[in-house]
C-alpha cells in the first residue's frame, strides 16, 4: 500500500452562507486548498475529485455536484464522484480518496466536503438530517437526531452520573477553542455560570430535547472544506513543495445496526470502537500515542462517549478528565481544538473533511495563537454517521 499524504487544505467560514450556491462554496474551499498546496496553476495534476455532500439533492435541489465542481474549477478531465454517507460523508470521502491513492489507481485526489443547510428553515433542516434514520421504525414516529441525542444523554446521565453542569463544561471548552478559530460558526465564549448556574437558564440556554440544551447541541451551519492528497512516492510530489506533507497513517470505518433499538446496549457505540481499532491497527498506534483529537460532538455527550469508546478514558470517566482540564488546549489530551461541531459548526457533508483539516493544521503547527497544541505528533478524528451506525476514524501523523 502506498503512503498517502495531505498536501493542501482549504476551509470556508462555517455559518450562514445562504447567499451563495452550493458549488460556489465548495469551489471557494477547493481553490484555497490548491493555493495552500501551491498548485493553482498546475491544478490539472489532480487526477480525481471526490465530493462529500449529504443533502444537495434534497435541500438544494442539485445533483451531479462532483461534475459541476470539476467544471467550476476547470479541472476537466479529472475523474469525479460524489460520496454520501450521512454526516460521515466527509471522512468517508477521504477514506475512499486514500484508497484510490494507496492502491495505485491515481496519484492526486482532492476531496471537497460541503453543505448548505441554512437555505431551508430549521425544522426542514432537522427533517432532512432525520431522513438517515430508519424510515419505518424511527423516522415515521417523528424521531429526529436531537431526539436521539436527548435520549442518549439521559441514559448516559443515569448510568454514569453525568450532570448538566459537567456537560456545560464541555461546551465552555469547545466555545473557548472556537472563539480563536477564524472559520468557526459560533465564536461566542460562554461561561458555565451563564449557561448553567443562571436563574435565567431556561431562556438563555433553553432545552432543545431535554436534557439537551441549546449549548449542548451543534448549530445548523453552511460551509465547505477541501483537502488535497498525494502518494508520497509519486513523481507528482515535486509540485507540493510549499507545505510539510502530513501523512494519513490510519483509516478505519465500521457499521452498526440501522435501528438503535436493535442494539443490546444503546449506550455502546460499537462502530466507533471498531473503526478506531482498525485505524489504530493500520497506523501501528494506540490511544496513548494520540496527541489530540477531533470528535463528533453534534451533541456534547457524544464527545464524552466517543472518547471512551476509542480508548482515551474508561467508560463513564471522561467527565472527570474534562473537569480536570485534560481535554483543554493545554491539557495532556486536547479534544475538539477547532471548537468541535458544537461551536465550529456542522455542515454535515463538510464536517469529516473539516476534522481532518484541523488535524493537518495542528500537525503543521499552523493553528491560531492560543489554539495550537504543543508539539503534536498524531491527531485522530472520529466522524459519526447516522446515530452511530456508520463511523469513520482517521489518524494523521507528522512524517
Amino acid at each position: 500500500m502506498r503512503k498517502v499524504s495531505i498536501v493542501g487544505i482549504g476551509h470556508t467560514i462555517f455559518g450562514n452562507l445562504s447567499d451563495f450556491d452550493l458549488v460556489d462554496v465548495m469551489a471557494f474551499a477547493s481553490a484555497e486548498a490548491m493555493d495552500d498546496a501551491g498548485i493553482r496553476k498546475n491544478r490539472k495534476i489532480i487526477d480525481q475529485v471526490i465530493v462529500a455532500n449529504m443533502g444537495g439533492g434534497i435541500i438544494n435541489h442539485q445533483t451531479g455536484i462532483a461534475s459541476s465542481l470539476v467544471s467550476r474549477l476547470d479541472l476537466e478531465p479529472a475523474m469525479a464522484e460524489l460520496v454520501e454517507n450521512g454526516p460521515a460523508s466527509g471522512a468517508s470521502a477521504i477514506k475512499i480518496g486514500f484508497a484510490c491513492i494507496a492502491s495505485g489507481m491515481v496519484d492526486v485526489v482532492m476531496v471537497t466536503g460541503g453543505e448548505l443547510m441554512r437555505t431551508v428553515s430549521g425544522w426542514k433542516g432537522t427533517d432532512f438530517v432525520s431522513t438517515l434514520l430508519h424510515p419505518e421504525a424511527e423516522y415515521n414516529y417523528g424521531l429526529t437526531l436531537p431526539a436521539f441525542g436527548g435520549m442518549f444523554t439521559r441514559l448516559y446521565m443515569e448510568r454514569y452520573g453525568l450532570t448538566e453542569r459537567e456537560l456545560a463544561m464541555v461546551a465552555v471548552k469547545n466555545h473557548e477553542n472556537a472563539a480563536k478559530n477564524p472559520y468557526a460558526h459560533v465564536t461566542i465564549q460562554c461561561t458555565r455560570e451563564a449557561i448553567f448556574d443562571n436563574p435565567d437558564v431556561n431562556t438563555v440556554n433553553p432545552y432543545i430535547a431535554e436534557p439537551l440544551r441549546l449549548y449542548s447541541t451543534c448549530p445548523v451551519s453552511d460551509g465547505a472544506v477541501a483537502v488535497i492528497m498525494c502518494a508520497m512516492n509519486s513523481p507528482k510530489m515535486k509540485y507540493f513543495k510549499k507545505k510539510e506533507p502530513i501523512v494519513i497513517s490510519g483509516v478505519g470505518s465500521a457499521t452498526d445496526t440501522h435501528c438503535v433499538h436493535q442494539r443490546k446496549d444503546p449506550l455502546r457505540l460499537k462502530a466507533v470502537q471498531l473503526s478506531a481499532e482498525r485505524a489504530y491497527k493500520m497506523a501501528g498506534l494506540s490511544p496513548k500515542d494520540i496527541s489530540f483529537a477531533e470528535l463528533h460532538d453534534a451533541f456534547l455527550v457524544l464527545e464524552l462517549a466517543i472518547s471512551e469508546e476509542i480508548g482515551f478514558f474508561k467508560s463513564g470517566e471522561s467527565k472527570e478528565a474534562v473537569a480536570k482540564g485534560v481535554t483543554r488546549i493545554n491539557g495532556s489530551l486536547p479534544i475538539n481544538t477547532s471548537g468541535g461541531l458544537k461551536a465550529k459548526g456542522h455542515p454535515v457533508g463538510a464536517t469529516g473533511v473539516s476534522q481532518v483539516y484541523e488535524l493537518v493544521k495542528q500537525l503543521r503547527g499552523e493553528a491560531e495563537k492560543g489554539r495550537q497544541v504543543k508539539n503534536p505528533k498524531h491527531g485522530l478524528a472520529v466522524n459519526f454517521g447516522g446515530f452511530g451506525n456508520n463511523v469513520v476514524t482517521t489518524i494523521c501523523s507528522k512524517e
Binding site: I188, C190, T191, E193, A194, D200, N202, T203, V204, N205
Partner: protein, 231 residues
C-alpha cells in the same frame, strides 16, 4: 399659539401607560444585559443605532430597521398612539431594541424587534420582555403579532405556538400591511411564561447605572468594517 393649537390636533389620544420596571439578564457570554424602557429624549441615540441597518437586506434587517426608524421617529414626534420602546443594554451600549403599541386597553400591537448584537438570543429576550410588558405590566388581554422575516416567524409563530388569526382576515389584520396575523393571548402567555420570560428584578444600582446613558454600537456584525460617521 395657532401652531400649538394645530399641533395639539395632530397628536393622537394617548392611554397612560404604566412604566416597565427594568430587569437584568445574564447572557450566555456572561455579559449582563439590562432591559429597560426608553425615555423620549433618548430617541436620537436609538435612531443613530438603527440607521446603518436600513442598508442591510440580509435577514430582512432593512425592512425592520426602516420601519422601526419611522415608528420611533413617529413616537418622538407624537404621531403614534400609545407606543413604548424597550432597549437591551450591555455596558451602556445598545444591543437591541423593541417597540410596540396599544390599540386599546385590551389589545396590543407588536411592532418590531431588532437585535444588533447577534448569537446571544438578545432578540428573543427583548421580544419576550415586550410581551411581558403588554400582558403582565399593562394587563392586556392579547397582542397581535406578525413576522417580516423567517427568523421572526420561527422565533414567534413557531416557538410560541401563537394563535393563527389568518382566517379572520380582513376583519382582523395587523397594521403592518395586513400580513398574516398571529396572536399571543394572555392564557397562552401564562402557559409559556416560564420558558420564555427571563430577567431578574430589582436591578442593582451599579448595574442600572451602567445602562443610564445609552451609547450607539461601534460595531455591527451585520456590517463588516463599519465605522461610525463614515456611513
Amino acid at each position: 399659539m395657532i401652531v400649538n393649537e394645530m399641533e395639539k390636533r395632530l397628536r393622537p389620544p394617548q392611554i397612560k401607560l404604566k412604566p416597565y420596571p427594568p430587569k437584568v439578564v445574564m447572557l450566555a457570554s456572561g455579559e449582563k444585559m439590562v432591559v429597560r424602557e426608553v425615555k423620549r429624549e433618548e430617541t436620537g441615540v436609538l435612531l443613530e443605532t438603527i440607521y446603518p441597518l436600513i442598508g442591510v437586506p440580509k435577514d430582512f434587517y432593512d425592512i425592520v430597521a426602516a420601519r422601526m426608524y419611522a415608528e420611533i421617529l413617529g413616537w418622538y414626534r407624537y404621531r403614534v398612539a400609545n407606543e413604548f420602546v424597550l432597549v437591551g443594554v450591555i455596558d451602556g451600549v445598545i444591543a437591541g431594541i423593541v417597540n410596540s403599541r396599544l390599540m386599546d386597553e385590551d389589545v396590543g400591537i407588536s411592532l418590531h424587534t431588532l437585535a444588533v448584537k447577534r448569537g446571544l438570543r438578545i432578540g428573543a429576550q427583548l421580544f419576550a420582555s415586550k410581551m411581558e410588558h403588554h400582558l403582565e405590566i399593562l394587563g392586556q388581554k392579547e397582542v397581535l403579532i406578525v413576522a417580516e422575516s423567517p427568523i421572526g416567524f420561527r422565533r414567534w409563530m413557531i416557538e410560541y405556538s401563537l394563535e393563527n388569526r389568518e382566517d379572520k382576515y380582513p376583519k382582523i389584520q395587523h397594521e403592518l400591511g395586513g400580513v398574516p396575523t398571529h396572536v399571543l393571548t394572555k392564557s397562552l402567555y401564562d402557559v409559556i411564561r416560564d420558558q420564555k420570560i427571563g430577567g431578574q428584578r430589582p436591578v442593582g444600582l451599579q448595574t442600572l447605572a451602567s445602562a443610564d446613558v445609552l451609547k450607539a454600537p461601534e460595531e455591527y456584525p451585520q456590517i463588516p468594517g463599519f465605522k461610525r460617521g463614515k456611513q
